[in-house]
């Protein structure tokens, strides 16, 4: 055992690990997880992982027994997004493993570090269509950063070490380890490698001085520059460098949806979110900029609208990304830097100087004042935007907020001004309904002293609301805010705008009474119909020392604006009727 590992065990109060001791594959796995400093495991047992669960019995690990494997992986994902540390989940073979698929794809699309451990049937049964057999490594090839099928217990320590390394380095992502039952039961002397050596894998990319100089030169020549800061800022922990760079160069910052919190939404240089439901100023900035600096952003089609030739038509595009495959993938670029955004900015800051951008900043400020996010207030009718404003004002923007997918997600992105990284947790790339609530559980476990709010729709919440059992069982004080418009709101909005009000299959009026549902799980439930009631019950929810579900009954026919309709370009924004 290395000195570092021995110190780590001592520091964390972990029972000493005997190297060379003959142990099972299951015990080997758990020892490896200890050495990777894993504290929480989210999972669900089953036949093929019984050896692992037997080893877990009475062990050091804190295991969270979710009520569905999808809950486990989204919770592990929320934990990872809230901390930057890899989330770990376990599922059994066959259906247990396939229930992870949506969560794995969610993490892959948003570059979240996860290590997913699945059991499989014994190798003697592999390929026989045995009970609960599924080729999960094959199924997940397109949605993992990498996956392993363990054939020999002697490979297991190396594989676990590699899995954590791959999940957390470079562009983070999910890694799957599939362990057949015979390997979990087999015994071998315990070892753990000190180092990872994966030929051909480039874990980190520090840009050359020449690349950085070209980057700085391109930026400094701009008169109307704008930074497009993506999730890569948060993944690279480059918030300080971004702020220093933007302030020194006087370049306004647009946060992509995944980048919200990577630059304070309250900063004078912040232009908030662009794209389909972004604000007028951010989109105008992209349309009129002479230089767009993409930092850890992938020029997703919710920003370019898939009309890449018309996107930022007056701008040279400068792109920094740790994943070289993102450079030039979606938009034509003038300057590219294949590198870690944190080290790129750290190298660029001393070389950079202020751009001649004050006239541009004044113009943007004028637009910001003229075209803020706005909605029509309507007496006693509770508007969903008002709910988000209430959440923001009551927490001073300091909460961790998770969301599902749909209208409430966009309103949260618009009306909650995220100031800190890792405070907005939402499925951006895959758009996974049912993500928000279990993700909030993971975030709250990671940060027990912070306020964690899960903003969900009445549709998405019903996909994973069985995890109310978890918040009740472990007294996890997540505040669930259901933006309840009794329908699938975003689908309804599209049907109204593009399908001539033909509301096909969006009616959710026959949903459970969410207050009673919460109470059935032993969780406090509250309801509000008016702005006044909303303030009162939300104050009660925040004051309650435990989980709460608040059913905000909001106006049904409210739409998310601004909106750029699918197929249009950013200059074709609908600002709404007020």
């Amino acid at each position: 055992m290395s000195v570092e590992m021995a110190e780590l065990q001592k520091k964390n109060g972990i029972p000493p690990i005997q190297f060379g001791e003959e142990v099972t594959g299951a015990e080997t796995l758990l020892r490896c997880l200890i050495l990777e400093e894993v504290e929480y495991i989210f999972g669900y047992p089953g036949g093929a992982v019984l050896p692992i669960y037997d080893s877990l019995y009475g062990s050091y690990f804190k295991h969270i027994l979710t009520r569905h494997e999808q809950g486990a992986i989204h919770a592990a994902d929320g934990y990872a997004r809230a901390t930057g540390k890899p989330g770990v989940c376990i599922a059994t073979s066959g259906p247990g493993a396939t229930n992870l698929v949506t969560g794995i794809a969610t993490a892959q699309m948003d570059s979240v570090p996860l290590v997913c451990i699945t059991g499989n049937v014994a190798q003697s049964l592999i390929g026989t269509d045995a009970f609960q057999e599924a080729n999960i490594t094959g199924i997940t090839i397109p949605i993992t950063k990498h996956s392993y099928f363990v054939r020999d217990i002697r490979d297991l320590p190396r594989i676990v070490k590699e899995a954590f390394h791959i999940a957390t380095t470079g562009r983070p992502g999910p890694v799957l380890i599939d362990i057949p039952k015979d390997v979990a039961n087999e015994k071998a002397p315990f070892t753990y490698p000190d180092k990872v050596e994966i030929r051909g894998y480039r874990a980190s990319l520090v840009p050359s001085d020449k690349e950085v100089q070209e980057f700085v030169k391109a930026v400094s020549e701009a008169k109307r520059p704008v930074i497009l800061a993506g999730g890569g800022i948060i993944a690279a922990q480059a918030e300080k460098e971004l702020r220093d760079f933007a302030e020194k160069t006087r370049i306004p910052v647009i946060n992509t949806f995944m980048g919200l919190g990577g630059f304070p939404g309250t900063h004078e240089l912040s232009l908030a979110m662009p794209g389909m439901h972004g604000n007028y100023t951010a989109n105008q900035a992209l349309l009129n900029a002479d230089c767009v600096i993409g930092l850890g952003a992938r020029f997703d089609d919710r920003i370019t609208m898939g009309r890449t030739k018309e996107f930022a038509p007056k701008a040279r595009i400068v792109h920094v990304d740790i994943d070289p495959a993102e450079l030039g993938k979606n938009v034509d670029t003038a300057v590219t830097v294949a590198g870690d955004v944190k080290s790129t900015l750290a190298k660029a800051i001393p070389l950079a100087k202020a751009c001649e951008s004050e006239a541009w900043i004044s113009q943007l400020k004028e637009w910001k004042e003229q075209y803020p996010y706005k909605y029509k207030k309507d007496g006693d009718v509770l508007k969903p935007q008002a709910v988000i404003e209430l959440l923001y004002n009551s927490t001073d923007g300091e909460a961790i907020v998770t969301t599902d997918v749909g209208q409430h997600q966009m309103w949260t992105a618009q009306y909650y001004k995220f100031k800190h990284p890792r405070s907005f947790i939402s499925s951006g790339g895959l758009g996974t309904m049912g993500f928000g609530f279990p993700a909030a559980i993971g975030a709250q476990i990671a940060h027990p002293d912070r306020t964690v709010i899960s903003v969900v729709g009445d549709g998405g919440f019903q996909m994973t609301n069985q995890e109310l059992a978890i918040v009740s069982q472990y007294n996890i004080p997540v505040k669930v805010a259901i933006v309840n418009n009794q329908c699938l709101g975003m689908v309804r909005q599209w049907q109204e705008l593009f399908y001539d009000n033909r509301y096909s299959q969006i009616d959710l009026t026959c949903s459970p009474d969410f207050v009673k549902l919460a109470e059935a799980y032993g969780v406090k439930g509250l309801r509000a119909h008016t702005p006044e009631e909303a303030e009162a019950v939300w104050a009660e929810a925040l004051a309650h020392d435990g989980p709460v579900v608040v059913d905000f009954r909001v106006a049904q026919e409210e739409n998310v604006y601004p909106m750029v309709a699918s197929g249009n370009t950013l200059d074709q924004m609908e600002l709404g009727d007020d």
Binding site: T137, G138, H146, G200, D323, A325, G328
Partner: protein, 168 residues
């Protein structure tokens, strides 16, 4: 659309071919041919993949390939002079009496008749894709019963050493 021959050095592990093939499908590329075999180094395999696309598409494909953990290096052989060979076995309708006539056809192609039956024979040919296509056209008139082709194996010519620096 240009044709490209990509050389991909990979770990010799189960499932690597699936990963590569899946990537092509996932990213919307077509594989015209793919060959896999051992290399000068134990534990590594080399895939030779023929595919079509413009420069931007091929560049993107190579970058995506390189993201696979089991991929060691990716080289676009088409950017420099390279040697490409394919093997084909062609079963043709023919009686033994036609052997001399068919020999006369295959000989200029440096192909060979490797099996003769009562009503058919098998021609073996190696060479670049165009050469095999040309021979095939000539044999069509006899009636091609069965055809099997390996797809290209390829290598950069010696004047352009393939080094790590020359790869993505």
């Amino acid at each position: 659309m240009q044709q490209h021959t990509i050389s991909v050095l990979v770990n010799d592990q189960p499932g690597v071919l699936t990963r590569v093939a899946t990537l092509f499908g996932q990213r919307g590329f077509n594989i015209d041919s793919i060959t896999v075999g051992g290399t000068e180094e134990q534990g590594l395999s080399r895939m030779i993949i023929s595919t079509g696309g413009d420069d931007r598409q091929i560049n993107q494909l190579m970058k995506q390939l390189h993201k696979l953990i089991d991929v060691i290096s990716v080289t676009n052989l088409s950017e420099n002079p390279f040697v490409s060979r394919e093997l084909a076995l062609i079963k043709v309708t023919a009686s033994p009496s036609q052997l001399a006539e068919l020999n006369g056809i295959v000989e200029p192609f440096r192909a060979a008749i490797v099996d003769v039956g009562p009503s058919s024979l098998i021609v073996q040919v190696t060479g670049d894709t165009e050469k095999i296509d040309a021979l095939l056209v000539l044999l069509q008139s006899y009636g091609v019963i069965e055809l099997t082709r390996t797809g290209s194996v390829a290598m950069a010519r010696s004047i352009v050493p393939v080094t790590a620096a020359a790869t993505v």
